[in-house]
């Protein structure tokens, strides 16, 4: 499973959680209905420094990663039911401005939506 795989959204939809811990980019899965985090892979915990127990079940945009709670990320998830977009972004990982690429994925009528995070060279 790679960040740039065309069928990444479909792969994520059927992947077992353990399999996601073996990929080298961050993956966050959240419920479409209320944006609460249900998948947070190991790569993501390493990037952010937040253990799973601090994020699971919390609303991702509002409470876990407020840096994404704006027109560029959160609002695209909320307004676009068919979403698969890659954008350059800057996270403040461990308080340091960190260039990343984000892949925003939402399949129409799917229970979960996905955010993939990769370091940007």
């Amino acid at each position: 499973m790679r960040f740039d795989d065309d069928d990444l959204p479909q792969l994520l939809a059927v992947a077992l959680p353990d399999a996601l811990d073996n990929v080298d980019f961050g993956i966050v899965g959240m419920r479409t209905a209320d944006e609460t985090v249900v998948v947070y892979n190991v790569a993501e915990t390493r990037m952010t420094g937040l253990g799973r127990e601090r994020v699971m079940g919390r609303r991702f945009f509002d409470d876990v990663a407020p840096c994404t709670n704006n027109v560029m990320v959160a609002e695209r998830f909320r307004l676009e039911p068919d979403l698969d977009a890659v954008i350059d972004y800057v996270f403040t990982l461990r308080m340091r401005p960190s260039p990343v690429r984000l892949r925003l994925m939402r399949l129409r009528d799917a229970e979960l939506m996905w955010l993939a995070v990769a370091w940007r060279p």
Partner: protein, 435 residues
Amino acid sequence: MTGAGAGDRDDGAGDEGEVLELLYGLPIGLCLFRADGTVDFANPLVAQVAMPIVGPVGMSRIWPFLDAVAPGTSSRILEAPGDVVRVVQAERVVVEPSVSRRRDGRDLVFSLSVQRQSGGRWLLTMADVTAEHEREVTHRKAVASLEAIVNAIVEYALFTVTPTGMVDSWNRSGERLLGRTAEAAIGRSIAEVLDPSLFSDGIAAVLDRAVRQGWVEIEGEVFRTDGRGFWSDVILSPILTDVAATGFTVVVRDLTERKTSERALQRAAFTDALTGLWNRRHLFAHVQRLLADAEPGAPVGTIAALDLDRFKSVNDTHGHDAGDAVLVEVGRRLTGSVRRTDVVCRFGGEEFVVFLQGADLAAGRRIAETIRRTVAGAAVTLPDGQPLPVTASIGVAVLRADGTEALTGALQRADAALYEAKDAGRNRVTVADPP
């Protein structure tokens, strides 16, 4: 602990994770940058606001963001003397939606501070105060529209006093009604500004009552600074917060103004403009009331219908001003020859009707005779100083309480008697037979 990588120093499960969670979730934006603008540290709130404004490329230094939201701030930081620590202190920054890219069309407002840190670095903090700002804008609008209303009202004064009754706000309504400027009102007690007689139980007692009852109304004479007094109605209401009364609103209303204008309107509707006598409408209204209360068939009074003799020739010979002067003088003589309870009306032209309340036909004839003599007594002095003898013919008819046509019937009979008097040679009284 859960998940692969537990125990790894990067998984954030320990103290570091605790600190990071705190910083990530902080509702205030923090950004540490160097003198050249390079951003060393920033928390998510800074990225949340700045990313849509400057994009990923603009995030490595602070300047693009500052130049977009608070122009001029960059140079203030760069040019700040070395001993100044707090270069920007809680300054309100308003970012329009076209810049912030907020979709709801609202301004983004935050409070910005920048202070010097050690090592030539700067700390920027920003707190979102949009909600507070919107409340303030709403509040300012409410205050401004209230001020406009208060300044525009006439015949009322509206001001506020402190919990102990000292005037603490004043406006044009108070200047107009009470003739007092804000300087001459603010800081003085309400008793001094209105009149001590209104607060004979003491200001504290009146204010206490207002708190207990929700309001207090006092009526009495209020004095303007020019010494002119007027009768007024004063309403005090507490300005309540959830704690206690933080003061009182005071509304002063000029009652004399209202009463005189009511009287003036009523007068205009029921009197004759030239002579000031009652008019036909008043006579009918007055007599209908008496008839309604009278026993059927009982005598209510006597009608005397009076017409000036050869009045047309007065107008023709001496002009209308002279004619008007005669009518006014005759009106004065009529009023002077009857009792206060009688009603003297000008019916139109040179025709007058006097209603002699409670008088029977014999008494009516006597009074009518007095009227005739008074009218024909001294000559009327015209505006040009010329004396003009005037006489009148009078028809008298009794008015009984016998149905709705009573007044009309009595007026017709008095009128017929009046023309008999004219035919008989004028300047005389003729009595109509009872119906």
